[in-house]
Symmetry: C2
Subunit: 94 residues, 2 copies
Amino acid sequence: MIRLSVLYPKTDGATFDHDYYRDSHVPLALAKWGLESADIDKGIDGPYEAAVHFTFESMEAMGAALGGEGTAEVQGDVPNYTTIAPVMQISEIV
Amino acid sequence: MIRLSVLYPKTDGATFDHDYYRDSHVPLALAKWGLESADIDKGIDGPYEAAVHFTFESMEAMGAALGGEGTAEVQGDVPNYTTIAPVMQISEIV
């Protein structure tokens, strides 16, 4: 199993709409990528303002989802909730 | 619910024993902190070599666990698997 974590570093002067992120953006990503659920974090302490963790069956499944045409819409939605440039982490769940 | 993510940044010249981490260190932390399970990541791509995500019922529960006497043993075990200084992220699961 593969975890894709999208991490939003705390950034001076940046904005992040946590409600929109949880209620609109992550559901959009799930729908476009054919996933059931994701884990959403609202930062309390540490370097990140927010994060989401998606789980895929394999690297191939992740590549197929992210390579699909829905990803452009997901990316295009980002300015609707934040000005932060996210960091992507891909990991094997062990 | 609170997520405590412990993130190990990729570091030139550093070592990380993923097998020991999964088979010995994280189980030790779980036992000392009274937790059932955790999500363990082995980095494939991105800024982190490894990570673990613990879930607590509340900030109070996390504070009680980490403030307990078992934490010293958990911290003392770190040199057995890595030379990387971890980054801690505490988040509310939304």
